[in-house]
Amino acid sequence: MGASMMAGPHGTATACAPRPLVVWSIALVGCAASVVSVSLAATFHPNSGAIAGEAGKPLVLALLFGWLTSAYVGCGLIAWWHRPASRFGPLMIVLGFTIFVTGLARAANDLVFTIGYAVHLLPPVLFAQLFLAFPTGRLRTPLQRSMITGACATALGLSLFRMTLGGLGRHNLLEVVDAPGAAMTVLRVQLLVIIATCMTAFVLLVVRRAGAGPPLRRSLNVLIISFAGGLLMIGLHLGSIVVGAPAVQQIRWATFATLGVAPIAFLVGMLNDRLARSAVGELVIELRQEPAPADLRDGLARALRDPSLTLAYWLPDFSRYVDSDGRPVDLPAPDSSRATTLIDHRGAHVAVLLHDPSLVDEPALLEAVAAAAGIALENGRLHADLRARLDELRGSRARIVDAGQRERKRLERDLHDGAQQRLVALSLELSLLEGTLQADPAACSTIDHARNEIATSLEELRDIARGLHPAVVSGHGLEVALEQLAARAPVPVRLHVDMANRLPERLEVAAFYLVAESLANVGKHAGAASAAITVARIGDQVVVEVVDDGIGGADAERGSGLRGLADRVEALEGRLRVWSPAGGGTRLRAELPCAW
């Protein structure tokens, strides 16, 4: 059993976990960076006013800086380690270090300040990129990529240009002219572009989650909310700088704190995923209890924690996917909000899971669930296959019956309009001829003989036509047609038809034959003195009952007559029941579904 992603942007086999040496080195550097960040922020004297809006309690800021750096680097490492195929981890690490580098702007060294200041507007853009790229670490659309690239260029390129305009104090190595007014204008432009980027990313996130529908996993929800909240706070913070709002410092703290929540939410989500593996164990136990195929989907949905999960079986003979009832299922388009995981068993494709795209980020879980459900899925597929075949068989039986009936009706009509009319006309011609030959008794007798022959032929044709199709049923309805059957029956028959409207022709014809054959059986086998026929519409069924007071003992399985009747009824998806106790008469009841 193997699972493979079909429409996830995830899943390159070449990705492998980073080497432990690399991980430890990065962790070490990250720790050092956090310490440097904290000490720089704590010892920073904001008298230079170099960093926009920077003022107030240095220790709070120092701790927030240290936390952001270490949290993003640390979480990035964990993510990279567990999901090497995703770029999300490395992206987090880069972001963590960038935050550290921006902190260098607080340093007294000219070069260090210049480097730190050059990137100090980059983190908001990187946050926007990171959050938009969850969970794969890749941006989804070219538009998003160009937006982030543009914002990066604004944050980094314009900062370098702005530094040539001076106004940043003595540590700025890039100052060419001293034009603080122009520098301020450029800064405003930068801030506005970055605000716009963050707000767009916020809207994109919200729209994407709303589009994914309600069945979203809870830990993921918290994560997305923290992402969206972070972006909103960045926008608010930068906005407050642009308009020079009074509480800039407090807003900055709140912003940093909000951004600091995202890694925690991320870790909790990962922990949940680990716990989810134990749900696979529950699934295995559940599958041992041989659930019905419908339960298989529910079990898988529970194990994968995705209530929106759809399970579709692949039927190679039909070249289509079906649900457990054999009804066709269409796969979503590759770029839709649903992801697709194909499941194979012993080299053959068995089923497909349509699930929340966030599951793409948990290939191991998908793999484990697919493996656990292996044989059950194969069984489920066989069930679905059987049902699909049954449906098809039912459909084709109904079509064959209909086609047969149409053909018989056509033949009856041809007989009626052709041979029967011609024979009547011929007989009439002979009569007219006879009128002119009154003087020749021998000729008259021959004509009379011929006319009798024609009468016999007509009678035979009438019997054949009636056997082909009961035209009177089509023409005048079941009730009128049953009168003749009842009158011609071998025993006196009480007829009761309770129907407001005509039924579909196939039902009327079936009911007619049902009564005709039942009455024939009554005459042949029942030894009855009388019989009763009831036809009634009960709910969405037509119920035909033929009851006699004969010897009973009719066997539905042995008597080919009864078997034929049952076939006729079942072809219309109805049910035939026979009660025939020895000596107690026979009661035959057919229930035909009728939606009209």
């Binding site: 009626h416 309009d417 009439l428 009128g435 009636r466 035209a471 009177v472 009128v480 009158a487």
Partner: protein
Amino acid sequence: MRVVIAEDSVLLREGLERLLQENGLDVVGTCQTGDELLELVRREPPEVAIVDIRLPPTHNDEGMQAALEIRAERPDVGVLVLSQYVELGLAMKLLGESADGAGYLLKDRISDVQDFIAAVHRVAAGGSAIDPIIVSTLLAKRRRDDPLTALTPREAEVLELMAQGRSNQGIADKLTITLRAVEKYVSSIFGKLGLPTGCGDSRRVLAVLLYLHS
């Protein structure tokens, strides 16, 4: 006597027209559909309309519907329905509450010219013509303990002809017995079946049919 014909088979329509004309009837119009028939009857009111039960466009019950409409709209116009099959249910539907001026015969009966022309005359005159198959069907389904079993074979024969719509004279001719004898059989039959005596020819047809059908 004025007759109209509604029959979609050309062969039969023309044959019927010739047959009627040769027997001194005046065919004032022929047509092929139920709607045309209704229009023809309104335009050229005949004494009797001869109608094929299956008419275009669907060949289902158009002829029957037209016949029922004429009977409701123009009680003075006799309606003789012809069909390749005769059905008890259809006979009862056509007659409704009265057998006056109504006929329902198998198409084959046309070639028995004398009987057929007599039936046309009877229906035109407000009498009735019920196919022998219908009558025999009704007679066949009687129970063993039925009052019908009390009838003599001759009386049964008379009952059958009576149910077909024949007059006493018609029955006398058919059985080659005297009118007096027929009248004697009829009153004996009515006595045995408990039917009210003294009604006219066509009333008694319905009475006998309903008695048999009950």
